[in-house]
């Protein structure tokens, strides 16, 4: 009943093996901890492989895997923070260390964005995904991705004082 099973599985395994360094870095950029990042990558791989038969189009495997990986990373983030909602933790952290007039390095500034904004920036500029691919990988539509990207760029500009062009 499912003819393409072995092909999709094979494609996914290749994609995972070839991209493992990138996947690990992306996970690490969320969880900030080596062991946790390894866990996230492993969990994402297990989940993806066990469900690969549900993917209809082999062309979507790449973004589909990103989606699982990012979900795992965020789950980890939430579990780690226990009952403190992320926004609150973030607000606390930002308030204590932020000195008026202090300019942040762009890379550190990205950590202060909301999780969805971080994801858009990382996928666009560090993983070189197209906006359409980001929409698929985050399960949102293209317009949401665009508005998130522009908002994130504005906020980064506020935090760093740097003008970042946003070639789409």
């Amino acid at each position: 009943m499912r003819q393409n099973g072995p092909d999709k599985r094979q494609l996914l395994v290749e994609h995972i093996v070839n991209g493992q360094t990138e996947f690990y870095r992306l996970a690490l950029s969320y969880v900030k901890n080596r062991d946790a990042a390894l866990d996230v990558v492993q969990e994402a791989i297990v989940k993806a492989l066990s469900k690969v038969d549900t993917v209809r189009e082999p062309a979507y495997l790449k973004t589909w895997f990103y989606r699982i990986l990012i979900n795992e990373a965020m789950n980890h983030f939430r579990r780690g923070r226990d009952l403190v909602p992320f926004e609150e933790a973030l607000a606390g952290r930002a308030a204590e260390s932020r000195d008026p007039g202090e300019r942040l390095d762009l890379y550190d500034a990205i950590d202060r964005l909301s999780l969805p904004e971080q994801t858009v920036i990382k996928l666009r500029y560090f993983e070189d995904l197209k906006l359409e691919e980001i929409a698929q990988a985050t399960g949102t539509n293209l317009n949401t991705v665009k508005s998130r990207l522009y908002k994130a760029i504005r906020r980064l500009k506020d935090m760093t004082g740097e003008e970042i062009d946003h070639a789409p």
Binding site: Y24, L28, D53, L106
Partner: protein, 284 residues
């Protein structure tokens, strides 16, 4: 790219990757494969059962001797029957699926059997795939809006069938799919086979060329009759209630070989009315 962004990218890329990464990746791939195979066993049992069924049909088709032999066995040859091809259960964090899948045999019309069995299995598989997909999306939405995955209540899907009529003339059965989340939603598919012609029955075959008028008049009369009970609420035609039956109105045959037309929940009245059935008598 902006130099500042270039620098951030360089810092991102410079994040050290641990030596054991590729080992961890390999281990995870193996574990994922193992889980995938476990899931596939369930699917395969379905495919194998259907393949067995197709074999039987082909055998009848291909060998006159075999076909003759089957028809000579009185019970097997004379009475078409529905049997359960496969039963399976999937039970995980996202969903609980119970399936009892029927197939058809001994109607004497192998092409028809094949076609219907194929249709049943494709339809049921599509229903399950769709439900799985939806279950996964629902769970993702639940979790991403802050729900604890451990508290998630899995979607329950039930696929079952019921034989409504089995005589020497007709065979009629209904396949039902019920998906339960906050409330249950049922979909059904009906199959009616004329064993004399080997075709799927239509209401026209049973009620003649004026079948639409016949059915409409009787459904309206029965709605009026049932509405006398204040517990029964039907929408009027203006409110979106009964506006005449459709060309492909689902129906089945009851044990008396009378057609019973079926309307889905919400089609004629509020959800509390459930799905509605009307037995139709032949026009005088």
């Amino acid at each position: 790219m902006h130099p500042e962004l270039e620098r951030a990218r360089a810092r991102y890329r410079a994040q050290e990757t641990p030596e054991e990464l590729s080992l961890a990746v390999r281990a995870a791939i193996r574990e994922g494969e193992r889980l995938r195979k476990r899931r596939r066993v369930l699917r395969r049992s379905l495919a194998t059962a259907l393949a067995g069924c197709a074999c039987f049909v082909l055998l009848v088709n291909g060998s006159p001797t075999f076909a003759q032999a089957v028809y000579d066995v009185p019970l097997l040859g004379s009475l078409a029957r529905i049997f359960t091809v496969t039963e399976f259960t999937v039970n995980d964090d996202e969903h609980v699926i119970d399936v009892r899948l029927p197939a058809l045999e001994n109607t004497g019309y192998t092409d028809l059997e094949q076609q219907i069995n194929q249709e049943i299995s494709t339809r049921v598989q599509a229903v399950i795939d769709e439900a799985e997909q939806r279950a996964q999306e629902t769970k993702e939405a639940y979790v991403s809006t802050g729900g604890d995955p451990d508290d998630y209540i899995p979607v329950i899907i039930d696929v079952d069938y019921e034989v409504k009529c089995r005589t020497e003339h007709y065979l009629s059965f209904v396949i039902q799919k019920t998906e339960t989340r906050a409330s249950a939603y049922t979909e059904f598919y009906t199959y009616n086979i004329d064993l004399e012609t080997g075709r799927e029955l239509t209401l026209r075959d049973l009620l003649g060329p004026n079948w639409m008028e016949t059915v409409n008049a009787q459904v309206e009369a029965q709605i009026a009759e049932r509405s006398k009970d204040p517990d029964n609420v039907y929408w009027t035609a203006e409110e979106g209630g009964f506006q005449g039956i459709s060309e492909d109105q689902p129906f089945y045959l009851n044990q008396e070989e009378r057609p019973v037309v079926v309307f889905e929940k919400y089609e004629l009245g509020p959800g509390s009315m459930g799905s509605q059935e009307f037995v139709i008598q032949p026009a005088q």
